[in-house]
């Protein structure tokens, strides 16, 4: 008879020990727990100091895409799959740009206001279709940014197809870089915290079985609208931040890039962990900047990466790495 083998995975000893209160008993276990959490914080803050000029701009860029990816992941956690994350980005950008251009409010005022009202606007817009799920919801989200873009183009409001130039910038570039990095990190850890709280559990339950949640006496549409507000506000923050950083507001805020890249980041990184989305957007964005010379081919390449990764590594990079970190594998004979 042919010998058969299978892979067996076991938790590492340090993982088992660090799971409990005993983690505080030894520095090794504390380090084991802290390393994956401290690494992105320290890494990004150091990068924010070290990098300057163009590289700092790329870092800001990566953080903004990272925020969009996080907000996508948050929506996906309650079963709302969006193909139009650029809606959030664009709404935030236009709100901030309009407040700055017409009312001459400084960026530090427009930024929080645009996030708040951007979240409200997006939640209001999408709350009409919050009863849809899965593919149907995705269809509507795909349509919205394109329709708004066409609306702006045809009616010529808010600068029309030319956009509005010379918005006021942030006090200085270092400030902008820090704001982006801190916003990104805050959002990452806040989302991870929220999703494991009772509130987040309800959201995840909606994704798994919305009828069960309904029978528990919870209004799932209201919860979904709340989730839309949260991720809308995060996306709008990214948009508002970007428009001030570039000092330009245009229809490109609703561009396809802002919808594709978050989906790509989450699909590559692994859905539901937030860290995966954050990690991959920090890899993909600099990569995409390097590919900028290719022009239009860039997005096509993204799409190929996206399709390839979905087929080859469906669980996502982060889940893979986390498994390697927490567990070891060996081959055992099947008896």
């Amino acid at each position: 008879m042919e010998e058969a083998y299978r892979k067996k995975r076991l938790d590492r000893g340090i993982k088992a020990r660090a799971d409990t209160i005993f983690a505080v008993a030894s520095s090794k276990e504390m380090f084991y727990l802290l390393l994956p959490r401290a690494l992105p914080v320290v890494g990004l803050l150091v990068l924010a100091i070290v990098l300057d000029g163009y590289r700092a701009k790329v870092l800001v860029y990566a953080c903004m895409y990272g925020l969009l990816a996080l907000s996508w992941d948050f929506m996906a956690s309650c079963g709302l799959f969006s193909l139009g994350q650029s809606l959030f980005f664009g709404v935030g950008a236009y709100l901030a740009g309009a407040m700055n251009h017409y009312l001459h409010w400084p960026p530090l005022v427009t930024l929080p206001l645009a996030s708040l009202f951007g979240g409200l606007t997006c939640a209001a817009l999408l709350s009409t279709v919050v009863r849809l799920r899965g593919v149907y919801f995705a269809m509507v989200t795909l349509m919205l940014p394109i329709l708004i873009m066409k609306g702006i183009e045809t009616t010529g409001i808010l600068g029309g197809s030319h956009g509005i130039a010379s918005l006021s910038p942030f006090p200085n570039d270092t400030f902008a870089t820090y704001l982006a990095v801190i916003g990104f990190l805050f959002c990452l850890f806040a989302f991870r915290r929220i999703i494991h709280s009772d509130y987040g559990l309800v959201l995840m339950a909606i994704k798994d079985d919305d009828r069960a949640v309904m029978s528990g006496g919870i209004n799932i549409y209201w919860r979904k609208t709340q989730a839309l507000f949260i991720s809308g506000a995060v996306g709008a923050f990214a948009g508002a931040m970007m428009t001030h950083h570039y000092q330009f507001l245009g229809m490109s805020a609703f561009a396809l890039d802002y919808s594709i890249l978050p989906v790509a980041a989450v699909a590559l990184g692994g859905q539901g962990s937030f860290a995966g989305a954050a990690l991959v957007s920090l890899i993909l964005v600099p990569l995409s900047e390097a590919l900028r010379a290719l022009g239009g081919l860039r997005i096509a390449i993204y799409c190929f990466i996206l399709i390839g990764s979905l087929i080859v590594l469906p669980e996502g990079i982060f889940h893979y790495l986390a498994r390697k970190y927490h567990q070891f594998e060996r081959t055992v004979e099947v008896k």
Binding site: A76, F81, L83, T128, V129, R131, L132, R133, G134, V135, Y136, A138, M139, V140, L142, M143, L144, I146, L147, K150, G151, T154, T155, L256, I260, V263, A264, A267, Q271, G295, G296, L297, I299, A300, Y302, C303, F304, L306, I307, L310, I311, P314
Partner: protein, 288 residues
């Protein structure tokens, strides 16, 4: 009168956009987000067959429809088969493939005034006191013929019956020997072929651009959502509501407002009847 004629033509165009999408979705539950891209792609293959290979228009049309159908078929076996059954992954793969096609065409520089299909016959005639060109009449008749042919095909041919069986109940269909992947790939091939047919008759009316690809997808989605997916009657009704709504909006409020119509209709329909106008309760469970 002009409202009626142009509304009718506009509705038929929308129905042509949507028919392939809703066929594929109705049979295999596969939302093909690459629909618009396939539409534009088949326009270009037709252009290449006509202008580079010098083929007559009829042959070029048949060839490009075949090529697109084949592409849809391969697309299923090469990519979609591996992610079948995971709705999110299916959605992302078709969407990404669609974007990739459109961006590759753009990168190749395939857009612009040079790349446009000629109308089959130039000129036009007057119906009542409204001038209509022949191409629009061809669109109209193609739409009608296609719907009739599709009805006959689905109700009276073996593959068509297998399609319906798969749409009604996949497991029972499996148990009588209808293979799910085979039918799934055929449905995608048919959907792509219908997109190509629509492209060849409708594209001479306008430009070939990547934005048109998105437009086609959006209108197909809007029609499908309004009418209720997988319901042919619903699809026709949906395209007539949106088609006439658009022409009326353009005439009485202004052409700017045409784009608002599909979205407004969707919202209204969803508020009143979430499963779409002709959707069945089965869909209600799936989508709401």
């Amino acid at each position: 009168m002009s409202l009626f004629i142009y509304g009718l033509i506009n509705s038929v165009i929308l129905a042509l956009y949507a028919v392939g999408f809703s066929l594929t979705y109705g049979i295999s539950g596969l939302a093909n987000f690459a629909h618009g891209a396939l539409y534009i792609l088949s326009g270009f293959t037709a252009w290449i067959f006509i202008n580079s290979a010098g083929l007559p228009i009829g042959l070029a049309a048949v060839l490009s429809i075949t090529v697109t159908a084949l592409l849809g078929f391969l697309f299923y076996w090469v990519l979609l088969l591996r992610v079948r059954g995971i709705p999110l992954a299916e959605l992302i793969v078709t969407f990404a493939a669609g974007v990739a096609i459109l961006e590759l065409l753009m990168w190749k520089g395939f857009y612009g005034i040079r790349y446009s299909l000629q109308p089959f016959i130039r000129g036009g005639l007057e119906i009542g006191n409204v001038g209509v060109d022949y191409q629009r009449l061809i669109v109209l008749s193609t739409g009608v013929i296609l719907v009739i042919l599709l009805y006959l095909f689905v109700h009276h041919s073996k593959i068509g019956l297998a399609f319906r069986a798969m749409a009604q109940n996949e497991r029972t269909a499996l148990s009588v020997g209808i293979e799910s992947d085979w039918i799934g790939s055929l449905s995608l091939a048919f959907g792509s072929a219908l997109a190509a047919t629509a492209a060849i008759v409708v594209l001479p009316l306008g430009m070939m651009e990547s934005t048109v690809g998105w437009e086609v997808l959006i209108y197909a989605l809007a029609v499908a959502i309004v009418g209720g997916l997988e319901s042919t009657l619903g699809m026709i009704a949906g395209s007539f509501i949106i088609g006439f709504g658009q022409v009326a909006a353009a005439k009485y409020i202004g052409p700017k407002w045409m784009i608002i119509v599909p979205l407004a209709t969707i919202v209204l329909v969803l508020v009143a009847k979430p499963s779409g106008l002709f959707g069945k309760f089965k869909e209600l469970e799936e989508r709401v």
